[in-house]
Symmetry: C2
């Protein structure tokens, strides 16, 4: 399979693609050797939540639209994993929570039901060989009960919340102290404000579990923006919400798995969605835009590129992108993460009073959740493998990874954990259509000099994706919001 197997046709039929009212794009095939051609009002690149949401809005507005997806499935960073017994768990984004009203509304519209993330019993804090049970309803909120580090970690959390209040969500680069905040790494801020090894460790775990990046990888301004974005128009964002299960960003799950959201959206869009067709080139003409993908060439008035900037930078553009936009795509790397899930006949840890949630200094499985389906069986214990650890291990064999993870699980919950009935992994860094997850993580200086290029259209090219969101950036809710915003932007300018 190659993008070369189709030759382009010289004649692209006229400017006006898909008359208003034509809900389906118009396809044509001219002989076996020619590429399929399609005309639509709007072409969407990427069938993740953002692209599908944009397409859905456009279709509802009676505009013709075609969605080109590189992978053989829809959903992007949202991916169901079928496990034993016909059940489902998630290899990608799985949680929704308070103030994430757009993803919640969408799921409801699609007829999907939610259930509570398992959050009963005690969490486990494991450090320096000692296991301590805790819950998040005490005075320290989500901060684990470290004998020496909790107090200052809690203070740091409050400071970060306070600082995030002054962030301008639409233009973080214009916030008070933006230059100071974007001049330093989160690591620097941590070292200037947290002094015990355990306090630093707790900040490290918060950073790696939220961003899948080390504190040295991200700018303080980006961290504060991300915290500020963890809310909605009436609820200021907080770090507590990011790291707490319930009430927080991890409180609910979707019955049947989160990928049902994009799957049902794609079903509604029908033939408008073309999978297995990577986009290679976007050519802007005076009156139209031509989007070449492996399976077909789509011509529209506008294109919405709904893939992460790092991947969007790998497409060809004619004319070339403006320098600021191109250099932006060089500066928004994806986080580094794997998800691993061990499946057992039942969630045996529950009987021992454990929630399945762990924060640990033992790796690679430092942060875990109970990912058991709503029926309560089979038991599924999920771990995130984050940042440096993911980078170090992304080439090891499945067997090696499995035995390292099961060893961690046995440390937390006993030897039963060593004998799962199945074991699953999803290495996002290795996925060629993603090359990292959950979101682009911005180093110092990027927001300050390149921020304005994140959402600014380039001629007929509009940008969507959770990286462009001002609320819940990096989350499914942000992706949905970005698709809604991009669709509205395009509807406002369509002929």
């Amino acid at each position: 399979m190659s993008e070369h197997r189709f030759t382009r046709r010289a004649a692209i039929g006229g400017a006006a693609a898909g008359a208003a009212g034509a809900a389906l794009p118009r396809a044509s095939t001219a002989g076996a050797a020619a590429p399929r051609q399609m005309e639509a009002d709007v072409v969407v690149v990427g069938a993740g939540l953002a692209g599908l949401m944009a397409a859905r809005r456009l279709a509802h507005a009676k505009k013709s639209v075609v969605v080109l997806e590189a992978d053989n499935r829809v959903g992007g960073r949202v991916l169901n994993l079928p496990i034993v017994g016909g059940k489902i768990t998630e290899g990608g984004a799985e949680f929704i929570g308070e103030t994430q009203t757009h993803i919640a509304a969408l799921a409801k519209t699609l007829g999907l039901k939610t259930f509570k993330t398992y959050n009963e019993g005690n969490n486990l804090y494991y450090r320096n060989g000692t296991a301590l049970p805790y819950n998040t309803t005490g005075p320290l909120g989500p901060v684990p009960p470290d004998p020496t580090g909790s107090a200052e970690a809690f203070k740091a959390l409050q400071q970060l919340n306070q600082m995030s209040r002054d962030i301008n969500l639409n233009e973080p680069w214009n916030s008070a102290n933006a230059a100071e905040y974007d001049g330093q790494t989160f690591e620097t801020w941590k070292n200037n404000n947290v002094f015990t090894p355990s306090g630093k460790f707790l900040l490290d775990v918060a950073c790696t579990s939220v961003f899948s990046a080390e504190p040295r990888d991200v700018s303080l301004l980006f961290v504060l923006f991300y915290i500020a974005a963890a809310g909605d128009e009436t609820h200021p964002g907080t770090l507590d919400r990011l790291v707490t299960t319930s009430p927080g960003a991890q409180s609910d799950r979707i019955v049947g798995g989160t990928q049902l959201i994009p799957i049902r959206m794609a079903k509604g869009l029908g033939k408008r969605v073309v999978t297995g067709s990577p986009v290679r080139k976007i050519t802007q003409k005076k009156d139209r835009v031509i989007v070449e993908s492996d399976k077909l060439t789509a011509v529209g008035q506008r294109v919405i590129v709904a893939i992460p900037p790092a991947l969007a930078g790998r497409l060809q553009y004619s004319p070339a992108l403006p320098a600021l936009r191109d250099q932006l795509t060089q500066r928004m790397p994806m986080g580094s993460v794997m998800k691993v899930i061990a499946v057992y006949d039942e969630p045996f840890w529950r009987k021992d009073g454990w929630s399945g949630q762990v924060v640990s200094d033992k790796g690679p499985a430092q942060v875990t959740f109970d990912n058991t389906p709503p029926e309560g069986k089979p038991g599924a214990l999920m771990a995130f493998i984050e940042a440096s650890t993911s980078r170090r291990l992304n080439a090891v064999s499945k067997g090696t990874l499995r035995s390292m993870v099961l060893d961690n699980f046995a440390t937390y919950y006993g030897d039963k954990a060593r004998s799962p009935i199945a074991f699953y992994e999803k290495r996002w860094d290795n996925d060629i259509w993603h090359r990292g997850c959950p979101v682009a993580v911005l180093p110092p200086g990027v927001l300050l000099d390149y921020g304005p290029a994140i959402r600014r259209p380039v001629g007929r090219i509009h940008w969507a994706g959770t990286e462009t969101a001002t609320f819940w950036n990096g989350y499914m809710d942000g992706a949905v919001r970005s698709g809604e915003r991009a669709a509205a932007d395009v509807l406002a300018v369509l002929a």
Copy 2:
């Protein structure tokens, strides 16, 4: 023109490409519609100094080689600009200096002569509306004579030199204090060690003029590595050498312009060099590698990719690159810089006792050089426009840029500067085959987690380019060294 105008041929003839002793690659053309096919021992991507040097070494060793260059010219970041009167100045890399023995030897071998960068009379330091003449032979070395900032800037320079002594050039990530240094930006280090506004300004100018990046954009570890690399096997690198004209990295120029180096190398390689043929895809098979470019598909035993990582990340790879290498390409952005040159009948500033070298807080032309050809006429005043300033201005009109620059030049050297006979600009950020210059600039955390992937081959793919150099990284000398190293690596494994 499109990469689609050729269809691939199904049959690639056998494994052994170019028998030993075959100095020229074997070409075949099968009909007008088919792509040219070529077989060679080694395929080189990019006809900059690194790629050409590698090809030259391979050809000398009687290996067949083909160099595929995207642009319609050779040289990469080395580019002659013809100016009025049939003379030449440089739009890209132009200086060579002490300890840069590899580029010097190459130029000599190619029959090229050097001349001294004009460095007589006084440099000019312009800050807060005051102009001060200075030279670099005093006790403060290259540090301009700022009334309040020079002393601490000089101390900072000495500290940085001292710290750079402990850098492991082959494995900076294994240096003492690597985690501490790679955890912070150079901006953070500056703010912790330099306290006057003028001292900070002097460090800012040093950083932007060396890296074309702001202090917040780069990791302290990367800065120290780069300083340590500014030397050779017997002369430790120093920041002084980076920022001083002579003796330093800017001491000499090439008669006829630096691009004569790649042009003469390409001439020696003859038909082995194919320009105007962007590489799109690299496919590794068990016994060969297939490199598809717009004009031809080359098949070899090995490929040397001699383009910057950010651009190499935009090619397609089959099988896909390992995750660590792919994520590395997301994390090595190019610096941001333009060069502008005003040409006058003669270098009138010389008569007033000025060297043409300026360090200024007035922009966009904050750092200038006398770029007059060796004949002494016409006069050429060159300025670098760096980092944030380049990013802010890379979309302004030529007229706007010209008038801003000439206004600066008039401030430094009087109203005569307002009336050049010609004005030239080269915006590297906007060049679609470069997307920035002079080098990849590494944010915090990249060397620590991704450093080992910078040079590590991926199967039959080897990496060259100044970004892979351990001496004079970012300079022409580093590019040449990297080509030599890559050729040696490949020669050691060729069948």
